[in-house]
Subunit: 337 residues, 2 copies
């Protein structure tokens, strides 16, 4: 290849992204900056967090600049190197972008990966990547579930949610998942070993509160929150005393012009619950430890990590939108090469 | 006296309580139940929590029943006793009601108090009561402020808020208070030793965010929340990384038919803050320890505890509403006898 296809953000989405917010353009294949490398991207991670980066709002990372390619974690092969620690042909992962070739500056997040140890290099974007580590540290370190406790997971059929539920079973919890639709609920039980599943679709607030109460009659000791909005508002009426809520994601709010947030904050107070804002970046110094444990559980068959691999940079928009339609089954990944 | 005046809840308030929600009636002076006592109430605590007890909604205590007197913590004198642990004329405090005489059942919260040790028996409803203990355990045990950290207190001129701010100074924090009006802000600095005060009145969201940022340029490491609503929503844009938010009260919401809650939950997530629902009842086993420490600081002049004493059961409604108009200066207490 002699061109670098790049999937650019050209306009900040108002609510749900539309195709015109992006443009696929061609540019020359770049050369490494001094001390840096160029990575030929093979797989890119598609995550709800990317929607947040498209807004011009205070967050934990600067917004994607208009005209820049959409920031993404990728795995790929070193195409050219000006750095003695990296050689051409070596597999790496890093925070790059939705494009064929990315310039990775020295001192960034780029790190080597061992593709011989896994079924597919894309595993480093799912169970052994941010998704798996988010589940691992968010559940086991922040919430510290105890055997016999009830764990309630929203977005349970998603990449993070399905890993959290399985880790909850390993921790000895009764695990209840909330997902949209009968098919996803079936997968929670049959594929991921959840004890119960609640379908939020077609339920108003009272019905959702009641359905969660039926599945978690003693209340939830731990809530792992990926969704927010009406789902979170129903969950807080099912908190056990002194519950811990891990606030990991709020996917229902990312495209919403008006944020619902948490109107029933009073329930958090009266149940003396604790709500923990959580970002995996705070555990970067322990990624090796978490990755090794996840790899062991994967190898032992105690964890199942499904991937939803979509093909082609030219399909980046349609693939990304699967996150918000709920179409993805497992970790959403874009195969670039 | 041969009659017992009782301030009854006769209708559940819709939003802000109106006088017709209550009725002052006369009843015979009661006799003790078996093993119980009758208390002649002298002072009653008027607290935002009472507004919550008037709603028929899930909470940490059963709602006040219609036709019952409004539940309140009182201090008073044993009028009649069928219990060998209590004798007539003895000062006690307990969870009773807004009435001249309360029947206290055995096994309740009634406990003796030493009125010789304090300036007024009402001190057991302020610095040495739930207010002081709420500040003590909520700040020092839940948030655990460290020297040099910034503490942000809402409702700062109120009974709990002014105690929290002073305890924050004892803990070595920079203390910023939020209150309504120039006069209250002046009192924060001059009477309670706060480092800075922010007047929320007349400010929209952006102006309030900016005013807090000016008073707390490094962000708030600890937020002690008594107010909720727009004040809380401005605070969360001023959280330092890993801030701890103690959710102690939400007075701005208690009369609101539509709860605002916390729309900007995303700020809690990105700043990896922790929100702790807090009720003083969880620390009941340590009240003696907290009370002794508060009494020592009071005696040493390191704490100032103001009381706003209103007179007469016949004024109970007007006195109670001072909480919501922001008129009270210090702990609001109703003198009954």
């Amino acid at each position: 290849m002699t061109v670098n296809r790049r999937f650019l953000l050209v306009r900040r989405p108002a609510g749900e992204p539309v195709e015109e917010d992006f443009a696929l353009v061609e540019a020359p294949v770049p050369s490494p900056s001094a001390g840096g490398i160029v990575v030929r991207n093979h797989f890119a991670s598609l995550d709800p967090a990317q929607r947040g980066w498209m807004d011009d709002a205070p967050s934990y990372m600067p917004p994607i600049r208009l005209g820049d390619p959409v920031r993404a974690t990728t795995v790929g092969v070193v195409h050219a190197s000006d750095n003695p620690d990296f050689h051409e042909g070596q597999w790496v992962m890093g925070l790059n972008a939705l494009e064929d070739y990315s310039v990775a500056a020295p001192g960034g997040f780029t790190m080597p990966i061992d593709v011989a140890a896994v079924a597919s290099p894309s595993n480093y974007l799912s169970a052994l990547g941010a998704v798996g580590l988010t589940a691992y540290f968010g559940l086991l370190e922040v919430a510290r579930p105890q055997p016999g406790e009830t764990l309630l997971v929203s977005g349970a059929a998603g990449a993070v949610g399905s890993a959290v539920g399985q880790l909850g079973k390993i921790a000895g919890c009764r695990v209840v998942g909330i997902a949209g639709g009968a098919e996803k609920c079936r997968r929670l039980i049959e594929n991921y070993g959840f004890d119960a599943a609640v379908d939020y679709k077609g339920k108003d607030h009272a019905a959702l509160v009641a359905a969660i109460a039926e599945a978690a009659p003693d209340g939830a000791n731990v809530v792992f929150e990926n969704v927010g909005g009406p789902v979170l508002e129903a969950e807080v009426f099912n908190l056990a005393l002194h519950a811990r809520v891990v606030l990991c994601g709020l996917i229902s709010e990312y495209n919403a012009p008006e944020k619902l947030g948490l109107r029933n904050l009073w329930q958090v107070l009266t149940r003396r619950a604790t709500v923990h804002g959580f970002l995996i970046a705070d555990y970067a110094h322990r990624f090796a430890e978490g990755g090794a444990q996840m790899a062991q559980w994967l190898g032992e068959g105690r964890l199942r990590a499904d991937e939803d691999v979509q093909e082609g940079l030219e399909n980046a928009y349609a693939a990304f939108m699967r996150l918000f339609s709920g179409a993805n089954t497992g970790k959403l990944v874009l195969k670039i090469a």
